[in-house]
């Protein structure tokens, strides 16, 4: 039920790391999600797919790695390289 809140936090973390102007160029966000993290992974996937396909994002996708334990982390953000810093 709370996966949308989690997905919004994932987007906030991505913005902190790449900056607001780069969000349309985000191609993927990597996450580690443990089986005891209290997350319904299909639901989180759905929420992230919806958010990453809508402004300020463009056509990003979530890349969720399932683990054992209670891990819930953003591991990477991938952006289209426009040659800038």
């Amino acid at each position: 039920m709370h996966e949308l809140s989690i997905a919004l936090d994932v987007c906030r973390i991505a913005e902190e790391h790449v900056g607001a102007r780069a969000l349309p160029r985000v191609t993927a966000i990597g996450l580690d999600v443990g089986d005891r993290a209290g997350i319904e992974i299909d639901n989180l996937q759905f929420c992230l797919e919806a958010l990453l396909a809508s402004p300020p994002f463009g056509s990003g996708v979530p890349d969720i790695t399932r683990l054992s334990g209670d891990e819930l982390s953003v591991t990477y953000v991938e952006v289209e390289d426009n040659g800038g810093p």
Binding site: M1, H2, S5, I6, D9, V10, R12, I13, A14, H17, V18, T27, A28, G30, L31, R36, A37, G38, L72, S73, V74, T75, Y76, V77, E78, V79, E80, D81
Partner: protein, 225 residues
């Protein structure tokens, strides 16, 4: 298309945990224990709080932050039992309280004049287990109308709670509810769980619960959950 990968390695709950730490710091500074009441909808959280405010109102100054998905009904009920401000948090659809909401609610609570804080979470046995609110302990409430295997169905909530109130015991004569099995299932999940058996409606068992709350305000209870 060339892409660039930026390594992040950041816990998703880190921001909430940071705010929860600030809630905990403020509560500790003023010596105010805080209990986060969690349960499924309809277990009797609000009725137990009403009974508690009535019973201890002349001995303790208690503050309440109460969360609901919609309406301020619970806050209105509790406000009629206390002179203190009852802070209502309407989550607008969210299925849990988070630390930001509690921190914001505490802005209006005079912690220096408070002996004990209750945080009545949104009725839900899944999501509130994931959010640290800066509380001293979680208290999970479940009622005899819910089925004794609830701890096995929702283990995370029972694992993360330090205390358990089994409520609506006045209905036991009319239900095939096995109290021993319920306690056994709960302790299977969390061997350290301390139990209270109450009927918030009739007041039966509420004295032991209130004695525990008085212990809390004297700093006699370890942080749990």
């Amino acid at each position: 298309m060339a892409v660039r990968r930026i390594e992040v390695r950041e816990k998703v709950m880190a921001k909430n945990d940071e705010l929860a730490a600030e809630v905990r710091r403020r509560l500790t500074e003023h010596g105010v224990p805080a209990l986060n009441l969690v349960s499924s909808p309809g277990s009797g959280k609000t009725t137990l709080l009403e009974r508690t405010l009535e019973t201890l109102g002349d001995r303790l100054t208690m503050a309440v932050v109460t969360g609901d998905v919609q309406t301020q009904n619970d806050a209105d009920r509790l406000a009629s039992r206390t002179d203190r401000l009852v802070q209502a948090v309407v989550t607008g659809g969210a299925c849990h309280l988070d630390a930001r909401q509690v921190l914001s609610a505490l802005e209006e609570v005079s912690l220096g004049d408070t002996d004990l804080l209750f945080i009545e979470n949104v009725g839900n046995l899944v999501c509130p287990a994931s959010w640290d609110l800066g509380e001293t302990a979680k208290v999970v409430i479940f009622s005899v109308t819910e089925g004794e295997d609830k701890p096995l169905k929702y283990p995370r909530m029972f694992e993360r709670s330090g205390y358990c109130v089994l409520n609506k015991t006045d209905l036991l004569p009319y239900l095939p509810f096995d109290v021993d099995a319920a306690v056994s299932y709960a302790r299977e999940v969390n061997p350290d769980l301390r139990f209270f058996f109450t009927s918030a409606l009739t007041g039966n068992g509420v004295d032991a619960w209130c004695d525990f709350l008085l212990e809390q305000t004297r700093g006699e209870v370890e942080v749990a959950g």
